[in-house]
């Protein structure tokens, strides 16, 4: 009983996480369901591996998936770069126009997707710009930048600058310091931001629906076929996407553990000291 009380919170967490995984579980489950190429029914009709073997048999699904991945990859790269630069500027420099920049970054996150999509459409229509991959790319970068800034910024805020200061003391030029110290230490944050941007892009339906013209991304394709009957390949691919995410995350975790192990090998950092300026700093290892 005491164990229950003490761990109530963790148990709750486990249940909550399980709840979040329910649809994934259902999707994965039905990717093994033996049914003619449509999965609309919650009733089970037998186990089969056929659809996993023929995962890439349906060309339409594949094309849509490839388009989505290309789009997500490109927009992630651009958004991550732009967003990281902006985060650096916002956190580390004092300058005028800060408030406006903040506003500009926060506004897209605070606007419903349908409004963003509609606004973009209005602009594209008025300029007579043809809708397609390019317009999708533009839209995806746009809504991802804000999220990248927020993630990288929060990482930057907790950043221990003593290493950079040490490098500067040793005569390294700012760019070198940035390249060899800042960037690698910032990497997990940037990676997290990139993952988020990628997920947002691959997932996007509303904005893409309005601005895609005739280009089909995975979500758009699913919307189309969901109306008549989803090919089981869709379940298979969705499960695959999930597994890829899990693998990526496992890699990040593993890399984290490696880094911690390496840190543990170094000599113990100093206990809390009074640094110049009179502030008490906790030892770096507690971060």
């Amino acid at each position: 009983m005491r164990w229950l009380r003490r761990n109530a919170l963790l148990l709750y967490a486990a249940v909550a996480v399980a709840y979040m995984l329910v649809p994934i579980f259902v999707i994965a489950l039905f990717s093994f369901d033996q049914t003619s190429s449509n999965k609309l029914d919650y009733r089970w009709s037998g186990f089969t591996l056929d659809f996993w073997k023929d995962a890439f048999a349906d060309e339409a699904v594949n094309e849509a998936m490839i388009t989505s991945i290309q789009l997500a990859a490109l927009s992630t790269i651009v958004a991550t770069v732009l967003g990281t630069l902006m985060a650096l500027a916002l956190v580390r420099h004092k300058f005028r126009g800060r408030g406006v920049s903040n506003l500009l970054i926060v506004l897209p996150m605070a606007t419903p997707e349908i409004v963003i999509g509609a606004a973009l459409l209005s602009m594209f229509l008025i300029y007579g710009i043809g809708l397609g991959f390019t317009t999708l790319f533009i839209a995806h970068v746009m809504f991802s930048i804000s999220f990248v800034v927020v993630v990288v910024r929060s990482r930057l805020i907790g950043f221990d600058r003593s290493l950079e200061e040490a490098a500067a003391d040793l005569g390294a030029r700012p760019l070198t310091t940035f390249r060899t110290i800042t960037l690698p230490l910032l990497a997990p944050g940037i990676l997290a931001a990139a993952l988020l941007a990628f997920a947002l892009s691959i997932d996007d339906f509303v904005i893409s629906n309005i601005n895609s013209g005739t280009t089909e991304t995975f979500p758009l394709y699913i919307f189309g076929v969901s109306l008549r009957g989803i090919p089981v390949q869709v379940n298979v691919l969705a499960t695959m996407l999930f597994l890829v995410a899990v693998v990526c995350i496992a890699l990040v975790l593993w890399q984290q553990r490696q880094a911690e192990r390496m840190a543990a090998v170094r000599p113990d950092p100093e206990p809390a000291t009074t640094a110049p300026g009179g502030l008490v700093r906790a030892p770096a290892a507690t971060r």
Binding site: T35, S36, S37, N38, L40, D41, Y42, A57, D58, E59, A60, E63, R96, G97, G99, V100, L103, F124, L125, I126, Y127, G128, I129, G130, L131, G132, S212, G213, T214, E216, L220, Y221, F223, G224, V225, S226, L227, R228, G229
Partner: protein, 390 residues
């Protein structure tokens, strides 16, 4: 922790910045294009050119209108004719598809598509706005040799100048015979017994004419007021919860899971619904017949190959493959003979090869009567019901 204290000084600056942005935007707008967004394409209608068949084409079609697995018709075509085909299933709704493509069509481009497949009324609208190319019958020998006689001169395109049917179909009712055995007319869908277990199509030209027919109106002679009255009837049913939702093709899932026991639906969908109790029924007052047509847009690349595709799918053997998969009404004559050898049950299926007796009370899909404004009014009224606006 330092707090931000927005002083009037920096607020003023923020306002200045906002003003600058606004000026910038207006300046951009000034360099922008037309004052006028929309409107049709004014250039002369051209005839699709034929020629040597090679290269590649892109075709836009509705989902599940062709087998896209291995050994499908596209692959056959690619192998036989040495043309690469990009077959895209991105037409989910006529209006939506048109809306998405419109900006490009106005510029005289087709978004890379050589063929789209759209329903009769949409094809006509596109043609009237100048977005389609005309088809020379001399280039389509197989098509016109095999096209069913009753489809040779439909009212929306009497000379078949711009459209070639891909499949035709019947709109009637999908009924779960176990749970709703006595639903025989569209009026039965309004029976309170089935409250909340009934859906109707969001395709105005299917749902409203059926409701009018059930009330004895001749849909070919209906007035705007008849349409609006039928829409009012639908509004009441929607508001009371009688109609669960207005659906596109997604009523299939609801019927499979028995969320819905009777619906307005399309004849070819029985093969998709995985519930043996569900059958398509011909309403006592008759059904609506429609066709989805292949059209060639202005600016379509490689029209020669597109025309060849049309000829190809009109060969009875090829069409038999399509008919077998899709199970809608095929527009090609002679396919029933081919299918009879493969599967006699299919050849006798009234939903694939309906005879005249079966469809005697059916009407072709009508358009709301009157001018473009009248049509807009009826469309808006219907959409308001679908989206629940009062």
């Amino acid at each position: 922790m330092r707090h931000r204290n927005p002083s009037t000084h920096s607020r003023g600056r923020a306002a200045l910045m906002a003003l600058l942005v606004l000026i910038f935007a207006v300046a951009l707008a000034a360099c922008g294009d037309d004052d006028n967004v929309g409107g049709g394409n004014e250039s002369a209608t051209q005839v699709a050119e034929s020629g040597p068949v090679r290269g590649e084409i892109t075709i836009s079609n509705w989902p599940a209108y062709m087998d896209t697995g291995k050994d499908n018709t596209v692959n056959e075509f690619q192998n036989e004719k040495d043309v690469k085909v990009d077959y895209v299933e991105d037409v989910n709704d006529n209006a939506e598809f048109f809306g998405k493509l419109r900006p490009q069509l106005e510029q005289g481009e087709s978004g890379g598509r050589s063929i789209f497949v759209v329903t009769d009324w949409m094809a006509k609208q596109m043609y009237d706005l100048g977005f389609l190319q005309e088809l020379d019958h001399a280039d389509l020998p197989t098509v016109f040799e095999n096209l069913r006689p009753d489809l040779q001169s439909p009212s929306f395109d009497p000379e078949r100048k711009f459209s070639v049917p891909w499949q035709t179909g019947l709109t009637g009712m999908m009924v779960n015979e176990q749970l709703a055995p006595d639903v025989r007319s569209v009026n039965d869908l309004f029976d309170p017994k089935y409250k909340g277990k009934v859906t109707m199509l969001s395709e105005m030209r299917d749902t409203v004419p059926l409701v009018m027919k059930a009330d004895g109106v001749d849909v070919d002679e209906a007035t705007k007021q008849d349409w609006l009255d039928a829409i009012d009837k639908l509004r009441e049913a929607a508001e009371s919860g009688q109609i669960r939702r207005f659906t596109g093709n997604d009523y299939n899932q609801d019927m499979t899971n028995e969320n819905v026991v009777a619906a307005i639906g399309w004849s070819g969908d029985t093969s998709i619904i995985e519930n043996e109790d569900v059958r398509w029924r011909m309403p006592t007052e008759g059904c609506i017949i429609w066709s989805d047509n292949m059209v060639i847009p202005k600016g379509a690349p490689n029209t020669a190959a597109a025309l060849e595709w049309m000829n190809f799918v009109y060969e009875p053997e090829v069409q038999a493959d399509i008919a077998e998969y899709v199970q809608y009404v095929t527009p090609v004559a002679g396919v029933d003979e081919v299918l009879r050898e493969r599967d006699p049950a299919l050849a006798d299926n009234q939903l694939i090869f309906p005879d005249e007796e079966f469809t005697k009370d059916c009407s072709t899909q009508p358009d709301p009567p009157g001018s473009a404004e009248d049509r807009q009014e009826v469309t808006e009224a219907f959409q308001d019901v679908v989206t629940g606006r009062s």
